[in-house]
Subunit: 411 residues, 2 copies
């Protein structure tokens, strides 16, 4: 490529989304690409020509390493969905006008389902209008729900945080010698896919039984069965931690969290804003069984805990960004970089590329055969799948006792 | 000492309460003490003669190191308060009968205010009845509210977790380029003392402004002022994180969390079980100002996150346990080991001992002069006090991607 490139981040942040920016930057520098722009707040900022030159932040050799250790979207993110082309040609023309103005030959977008839709729309428009620019998606989502790719950068680190923290919560909850059972309900992210909640199982070890129950959104949630499950758990052990996905749904289609008082609202894509199913369920345990109970919601901490990120995840996020640049240099467009597991024992992963039309707006859930028949656990197949993704650590750079981050001030 | 000793853990667990057990064990071994018993679930288990021999877990050289890296109370804890002596002589006699049966000359109790009361009562009873046994308290509380001692083991690690996580949440919350302000309310432990909530300020650095506001329970909480504060914050910045103590109270004495629907109940000491003031306040922000808002409660995670514990805290907890054994060997009883800061730049800390009667049932709060006049921040004096306590890390032993712990099965 003779011209420049631009990279943007979109959707919910992860602990390693910045490692993909680092990978794109490093590969582009190696390839001699002149200017590497960063969109501030994704395509939304790009449309306002809000961009930075990544050289200003990454040229010194500490920059890349700090960026790998920085949570959330370094460039800023957005939840902007490109409208249908028909009747919105002006908006699309604006994107290409800005690209031409800055001599940008390739646009890289790091994100999940909604973000990959942006790559699809822009590459479709380019094809239909014989525009030369290339559009490449880089997967990112803690939810791990993108199809085709074996897994998504961002998932492994959130899974590592969840496994680590659930293990610590099990220690805490089990330390009291109570007369009545104590059940702690941990609510974990995942609107439709239970990948993150299933990761609570990864804390099982010689010394830790792990969660007493794991409820994924892939299975219909039955309150009566839940109370029965909790009763049995309370009869067999003094203290237990159960992991529940924020997205568990009743047979009638209502989210369990909707049984609470508070109105939840929806996000700009119409997704229900979920929170509080842990509170709902612990209240049910207290009322129905009289057990001691507590709800813990990991909230956004689980997607931003870079201090305990998975090194495997960081390296794969970096590789996905780096190989996205190679794909664009080979002339590929309208694609997403995928992760391909080409070794299991020992684990090994390489990248590929795939037609964005087969990816955008599709969701990959946990295979039902990976959920035990009683609906309370995941199988060894899940553990074999997920455990390699949480391996390894990258120690933060600690300054005054807390991790150092790379930040664009007032972005 | 010719005989044996016993150690117990009591009250809410911390990330380093086990380091004090490790310190007691190491010093006792060095001193040639034959048997070092551990009470299972504190004095409550001791009264059932539920004890372990710590040699069974700590004799091999990995034991101590694993124990330092294990969250929560390794021995199990309890919330049992010794009743007044008058009319309960039988219970007290039972304690001494068990001590004599196992030839226990010294009892060490690691805990906070309520636990130190147990040391006070038992040593008072021993004095009044000419019993030779010694009773030594070892401070432990994330709340940091014990008097006399400069600070409490357990506080530094919880403070380090809070500063680290608040910094990561600030990155996450600030990453969206929203049209309307986003205010995230982080609810932090501390019933009457704001030490932990104030620790949110420790994330301030070149690249992080830290929380936009910090509300401690030492100041009366005014809802109208809060709404005014949030309005001003929303007018000056797009995204903000505010830290609020679970214990903030209105002028009429009600806890802010009591403004929520859910009934909170009380613990066995009659303390109100607090949770949800973050939810109450974010709901108020949404209703009054229409801002995007979210509540995050660190819950028990903040006291059990040994994976990011402070090395300074671990070492001081170990030292407090070790020096407690020395104090008992010198014949001291009815005392608590205290931490004495004998250097600030550079920080240095040593231990002392102090009459338990001056400690039990007293609470030390954040000095009001360490809170800024607008009630929204803490002064540099607080930072100078707290920052040394969060310095350093002790890397967990990672096995299969998660930290390894030392555990007594089925305790």
């Amino acid at each position: 490529m003779q011209g420049n490139i631009v990279v943007g981040q979109s959707g919910g942040p992860t602990a390693v989304i910045n490692s993909s920016v680092a990978g794109i930057y490093s590969a582009a520098k190696r390839a001699g690409i002149k200017k590497i722009y960063g969109m501030v707040h994704g395509i939304q900022g790009f449309l306002q020509e809000e961009m930075i030159n990544l050289d200003d932040y990454l040229e010194n050799d500490m920059g890349i390493e700090l960026l790998k250790r920085t949570p959330s979207a370094f460039l800023g993110t957005c939840r902007f969905k490109m409208p249908v082309i028909d009747g919105n040609e002006q908006l699309y023309e604006e994107v290409f006008r800005i690209m031409e103005k800055y001599n940008i030959e390739a646009l890289f977008y790091i994100g999940g389902n909604d973000s990959m839709d942006t790559i699809k729309m822009l590459s479709d428009y380019a094809r239909a209008n014989n525009k030369p620019q290339r559009f490449v998606g880089v997967p990112k989502t803690v939810d791990n729900d993108l199809p085709v790719t074996d897994h998504c950068p961002g998932y492994g680190s959130a899974a590592k945080y969840i496994a680590t923290t659930v293990k610590e919560v099990i220690c805490d909850n089990g330390s009291f010698g109570l007369d009545k059972p104590s059940i702690c309900v941990v609510e974990i992210m995942g609107r439709h896919a239970g990948w993150l909640t299933a990761a609570a199982s990864l804390c099982r070890s010689d010394e830790c039984d792990g969660p007493a129950a794991i409820y994924l959104p892939e299975r219909t949630f039955d309150i009566e069965k839940f109370v029965k499950d909790m009763k049995e758990i309370g009869e067999t052990r003094r203290a237990a931690v159960v992991a529940v996905s924020e997205g568990v749904k009743l047979k009638d289609g209502r989210f369990v969290c909707e049984l609470s008082e508070t109105d939840q609202g929806t996000d700009v894509f119409g997704h229900k804003q979920l929170s509080g199913c842990g509170n709902v369920l612990s209240a049910i345990i207290a009322e129905e069984l009289g057990y001691k109970t507590r709800a813990i919601e990991f909230s956004t901490v689980q997607r931003s805990a870079t201090h305990i990120a998975s090194l495997t995840d960081i390296d794969e996020a970096f590789m996905a960004g780096s190989d996205a640049v190679e794909a664009a240099r080979e002339g590929k467009t309208g694609i997403m970089v995928t992760l391909i597991r080409d070794g299991q024992f020992p684990y090994h992963c390489k990248t590929g590329t795939y037609d964005i039309h087969e990816i955008a707006n599709f969701e990959k859930c946990v295979p039902v055969e990976w959920i035990t028949s009683d609906g309370l656990n995941v199988t060894q197949d899940f553990v074999d799948y997920a455990q390699p993704l949480i391996m390894g650590e990258l120690n933060p750079f600690m300054v005054n006792g807390v991790p150092k981050h790379l930040v664009i001030k007032n972005k």
